[in-house]
């Protein structure tokens, strides 16, 4: 790891981290401010929701959520947090190496006396730190929101920790898969479409598995690997799916190193 590359990378992403984490914190507070209504009128609410077609409820992963409990309510909100974080992590993954190439600064960095392994490691650690900083804001605002709007209702703290911690595994998946795709295609001109595509695409897949009941599809998407509703219902991760998720991330990371070390940096113009 090179401290100077890490610092440079971390700084260049700092603004984006602020925007993402503050937006997510704002969504968390806004959403939780509605919780008292849901909790007080639980019966009415569940009756109301029952009127929706089951496909729609499935699409939002609400089939087995009880919106009148803190954790049930939070798992619905968590889906949106996951969506934001998925797009953010994919963006960082796609941009990790490709931004240097599209903004033509790769020549500068790679003509310095550092190995490519070190460059990639420093970049990855910087991106991970940025994501963990985002997580910190999410964790703190979650507890603050529950404190403010939870009406003192009891919930299982351990389960909430499991849900919150799952974010890191979830982010690692999008970061590393985004990175490996960016190294497999010849040139990434703009990061945003790729990032949105991967993040939103994974979410759509998970929604479809709900709608059509195609169980094998859930093997593909981290939204199912780390489904908050499942964690809340079982007080545990779905271990095989989490292991599958980690395996995909690690293989992507390994492949990224292999590709990056052998990569021909495209010339300017």
């Amino acid at each position: 790891m090179s401290a100077n590359i890490f610092r440079h990378e971390f700084r260049s992403r700092f603004k984006s981290v602020l925007i993402w984490s503050l937006s997510i914190a704002a969504i968390t507070f806004f959403f939780f401010s509605l919780f008292p209504v849901f909790a007080d009128q639980a019966a009415l609410m569940n009756e109301f929701l029952a009127k929706y077609p089951p496909e729609l409820r499935a699409a939002f992963g609400m089939s087995n959520m009880d919106l009148s409990t803190v954790l049930g309510f939070y798992s619905l909100l968590f889906l949106f947090i996951q969506l934001c974080v998925a797009i953010q992590s994919s963006n960082y993954g796609f941009g990790l190496v490709s931004i240097e190439e599209s903004e033509l600064t790769a020549d500068f960095l790679l003509s310095k006396p550092v190995t490519r392994t070190r460059i990639l490691t420093s970049k990855l650690l910087a991106a991970l730190s940025s994501l963990i900083l985002t997580d910190l804001v999410i964790w703190v605002s979650t507890f603050a929101a529950i404190e403010a709007f939870g009406q003192g209702r009891a919930y299982d703290r351990g389960t909430l920790f499991l849900v919150l911690f799952s974010l890191i595994i979830f982010q690692l998946f999008f970061l590393s898969v985004g990175l490996v795709i960016s190294l497999l295609v010849k040139r990434v001109r703009s990061v945003t479409p790729y990032g949105l595509g991967l993040g939103f695409g994974a979410y759509m897949l998970s929604a479809f598995t709900g709608v059509f009941g195609q169980v094998w599809l859930e093997l593909l998407t981290p939204f199912k690997h780390l489904d908050a509703a499942y964690i809340v219902a079982n007080h545990a991760y779905n271990t095989p799916l989490v292991l599958l998720n980690l395996a995909v991330s690690l293989v992507s990371l390994g492949a990224s190193y292999w590709l990056y070390i052998r990569r021909d940096v495209p010339a300017v113009s």
Partner: protein, 290 residues
């Protein structure tokens, strides 16, 4: 001692040619010119030597070390000025230079100051606000600030005004007298002529000629111009004469061979003026391209 040894280096980008079977050496302390038209493979060669790209076959050594396996070590003592300079746009000039310096051991603040004073570079402006020529200056300072032993200059003067070009050349000469080896790629022959001791000429990915600038100019061709009275210019069409042109009583041609043959021929006609000179590199160069 050879600072750069290139041995049958070949690079294909998929099917399209980069360079083919390129072999040459650059000796310590020389300024080696590398000339060729756009797309001939100049940048490809430099990028291979910096291990920004990987060779298809062949090998290259810098400071006696293989470029593929020992790139980071080699790059410690290399300064590189790319043909097009692009840097992190949001940064200030000084921050970029400090970032660049942080990759090399030691303190380089003093040298950054000196170099940017010489090149009249304003350190506290944002890179995104700089003109093309000013970005080029950032590139120059960035490439020199760690006092490298070997400099790669890839068409360095584009975008610099003549005054700056001169300052730049003085800077390079000064570095050279300190023992720095310079690899100077260009398609502008005048500047190569001014600066370099030896040149390699590359064309369509292959080296066509490597020689001393002097021998290139002396041994090859003489440029002869005559003003003649009433003589048939075509009488100069003899063995060794090329590019014969005649207009309004003046005759120009290139001559290669025993110069006495031309002198005898000239003395046999009535001339009012004669010049025999070395052709410019430009004119020699055109010859290689025909």
């Amino acid at each position: 001692m050879s600072v750069i040894e290139v041995n049958q280096l070949t690079k294909y980008y998929g099917k399209s040619r980069g360079i083919v079977d390129v072999t040459f050496n650059v000796e310590e302390g020389e300024i080696f010119g590398f000339i060729g038209p756009n797309g001939a493979g100049k940048s490809t060669t430099i990028r291979l030597l910096l291990s920004l790209i990987h060779p298809t076959s062949g090998s290259a050594k810098v400071f006696g070390m293989d470029v593929v396996s020992r790139g980071p070590e080699i790059r410690r003592d290399i300064g590189y000025l790319p043909s097009e300079v692009y840097y992190y746009e949001g940064m200030k000039v000084i921050d970029l230079l400090k970032y660049s310096a942080s990759f090399y051991p030691g303190d380089h603040t003093q040298r950054i100051q000196e170099l940017s004073e010489t090149m009249e570079l304003e350190l506290h402006r944002r890179i995104s606000d700089l003109s093309y020529g000013n970005k080029k200056k950032v590139g120059i300072v960035q490439g020199l600030l760690h006092s490298p032993k070997l400099l790669f200059l890839d068409e360095p003067t584009s975008g610099l005004d003549p005054l700056m070009q001169r300052k730049f050349f003085d800077l390079i000469r000064k570095e050279n007298t300190r023992g720095v080896t310079v690899f100077f790629s260009s398609h502008i022959l005048g500047e190569v002529q001014r600066l370099c001791t030896r040149v390699g000429i590359i064309r369509e990915g292959r080296i066509v000629e490597i020689s001393n600038i002097r021998t290139l100019q002396q041994n090859n061709y003489k440029k002869v111009s005559l003003t003649v009275d009433g003589s048939n210019p075509l009488s100069f069409d003899m063995p060794g004469v090329t590019n014969l042109q005649a207009e309004n009583g003046t005759v120009h041609f290139f001559f290669k061979g025993d110069i006495n043959a031309v002198l005898q021929k000239i003395s046999s006609v009535q001339v009012t003026d004669v010049t025999i000179e070395e052709p410019t590199l430009e004119e020699i160069f055109m010859h290689y391209y025909e």
